[in-house]
Amino acid sequence: MAFVRRFLSRPTTLFGLAVFLLIVAIALGAPLLFSRGPFSIVGMPLLPPGAPGLLAGSDVLGRDMAVGLAYGARISLLVGIASTVCAAGIGVLLGAVAGYYGGWVDDLLMRVTEFFQIIPSFVLLMVLVAFMQPSLTSTVIGIALVTWPQVARVVRGEFLSLKTREFVQAARVLGMRDSAIIATQILPNALPPIVVVSSMMVGSAILTESALSFLGLGDPNLLSWGSMIGGSRSAMWVAWWTSVLPGLCIVVTVLALNFIGDGLNDALNPRGRC
């Protein structure tokens, strides 16, 4: 309970949480809120916000911007969360093995994470997605493939320090297998920093997804905030709302997620380790 109280003690965290829940509600409720799909054309193109029946105006093709924004929330959240879960899975597995066993496995992993830190990962991501063909799946896999080293580093560090502790030695004396020690003894103790790092990654994954979609590397069958901005470039001069509104949605969502991440960091690492 002390954790929950600490977590909710910061006003920015509360704000982030409230905004995040609102966005989740809009994303889940999009089909209930609007009878039309995001691709259906409802009227003249480039009608300003506030035109009859159009809360957020219409876009270049005369589609309802409000519907697009609501459905765009689904893509952003889905990609943000799914790619983070995948990256965390790979990172935890490899980081745990490297930290627990040390030696050449550890050396190899550290070289790999350094490699990912040095190379231009967004360009690599463009190559990955383009070569796999742009789709929701390739976006998620691509983002996970370039971000897992962040998790692996943190997990490795935790495992390095935890494996020397008495409770781990006790488990070993009791005859527990390595896999059981890793999964049931060390991992639960290493969870707080993993949660903090992952929460920070959701926001950056959303930013990355929007950048890919903006460049035309998103799923062509889905409307996302990034692709809405990309599609509005020709209309920017005459219809500011087509580019401003989806961008604001991204900023607010990522800001909310970063606030939540900061709150988790404070609550889980009272001494500010992360």
Binding site: R111, F115, Q117, I118, I119, P120, S121, F122, V123, L124, M126, V127, L128, A130, F131, M132, Q133, G203, L207, S210, A211, F214, L215, G216, L217, G226, I229, R233, M236, W237, W240, S243, V244, G247, I250, V251, V254, L255, N258
Partner: protein, 323 residues
């Protein structure tokens, strides 16, 4: 001892480049179909015999290790393949655009470092002041703003609404300026994309400078400097700032890969004719060799930049002996 440090860094950079080339070789296999299917598709004609001759011609029928060796040898000779769309060697196309990207990135780095150190220094001198909190809020905000969207907002405000600066391109089309006039024209076009690219880093430089200065200000040699009667200004500049700048050099190296990713997006927003817009053209035209070539070249560039910052750090900090 310093020599050993430099050699170690050099070897590391070389290993990264080799790893990039190996990775690229396997990435090619990620795309559906091989080069023969792509070429056959473009010629609009393909039967089994033709495909077979194509594969033989490009060595695609040979065992994987042989193909890998050939690929590595080609890349080492600067041969990155042929662009499908441009029908020119990939290396030529990239080298043509490279100077523009380097110009933009260098300008952005300069703005970010200059502005960030200045802001961070102000914030550190008066911790808790309005300026200090402004730096924190701004950096929070810039971490959440998509760079390409920030660029579009810059265009909207400074080019469309205020009409102060040109919205896109590297120079005024058809103006045919020469000499100083041309330089001024390019500089004017560089402001919006450069500042857009710089803002993200400016915020983090400001935070880093602030943190480092607060830490250094607490150390004994600063007290000594004050005790011997130096003015606050001299203490801040000569003693605190100089020592606080060291971590910034390393940070600039670490951020180089992010700078490259950012410039791909920003170049596209502002139609800046660099490698970033080239990458977009490669995506649009499904020009896989070109896209892969851009990955290899940018990776090598970032490695070089990292090497330079490592050397700069070892020169700036006499304590560095081993990595």
């Amino acid at each position: 001892m310093k020599l050993r440090y430099l050699v170690a860094r050099l070897v590391k950079a070389a290993l990264v480049v080799i790893a990039v080339v190996l990775l690229s070789f396997f990435l090619i296999r990620l795309a559906p179909g091989d080069a023969a299917t792509v070429m056959a598709g473009q010629s609009g004609y393909a039967d089994e015999a033709f495909m077979k001759s194509l594969r033989a011609e490009y060595g695609l029928d040979q065992p994987l290790p042989v193909q890998l060796w050939k690929y590595v040898k080609a890349v080492a000779h600067g041969d990155l393949g042929t662009s499908y769309v441009r029908r020119q060697p990939v290396a030529t196309v990239i080298l043509e655009r490279l100077p523009n990207t380097l110009l933009l990135d260098a300008f952005a780095l300069l703005v970010a470092a200059g502005g960030g150190i200045w802001l961070g220094g102000m914030a550190a001198r008066r911790p808790g002041s309005a300026g200090d909190s402004a730096v924190t809020v701004l950096s929070m905000l810039f971490y959440a703003v998509p760079q390409f969207w920030l660029g579009m907002m810059m265009v909207l405000v400074f080019a469309v609404w205020l009409a102060w600066l040109p919205p896109f391109g590297i120079e005024t089309m058809g103006a045919d300026y020469t000499g100083l006039a041309r330089l001024g024209d390019v500089a004017q076009h560089m402001i919006l994309p450069g500042v857009t690219l710089a803002l993200y880093f400016l915020a983090s430089y400001a935070r880093l400078t602030r943190a480092a200065m607060v830490e250094v200000a607490d150390q004994d040699f600063v007290k000594t400097a004050r005790a011997k009667g130096l003015s606050e200004r001299q203490v801040a500049r000569r003693h605190i700032l100089r020592n606080a700048l060291l971590p910034l050099i390393t940070y600039a190296g670490l951020q180089a890969s992010i700078l490259v990713g950012g410039s791909v997006l920003v170049e596209n927003v502002f139609s800046w004719p660099g490698i970033g817009t080239l990458a977009f053209e490669a995506v649009q035209g499904r020009d896989n060799p070109l896209l892969l070539g851009i990955f290899i070249v940018t990776a090598i560039l970032v490695c070089l930049f990292n090497l330079i910052t490592d050397i700069a750090y070892s020169l700036a900090d006499p304590r560095v002996e081993l990595g």
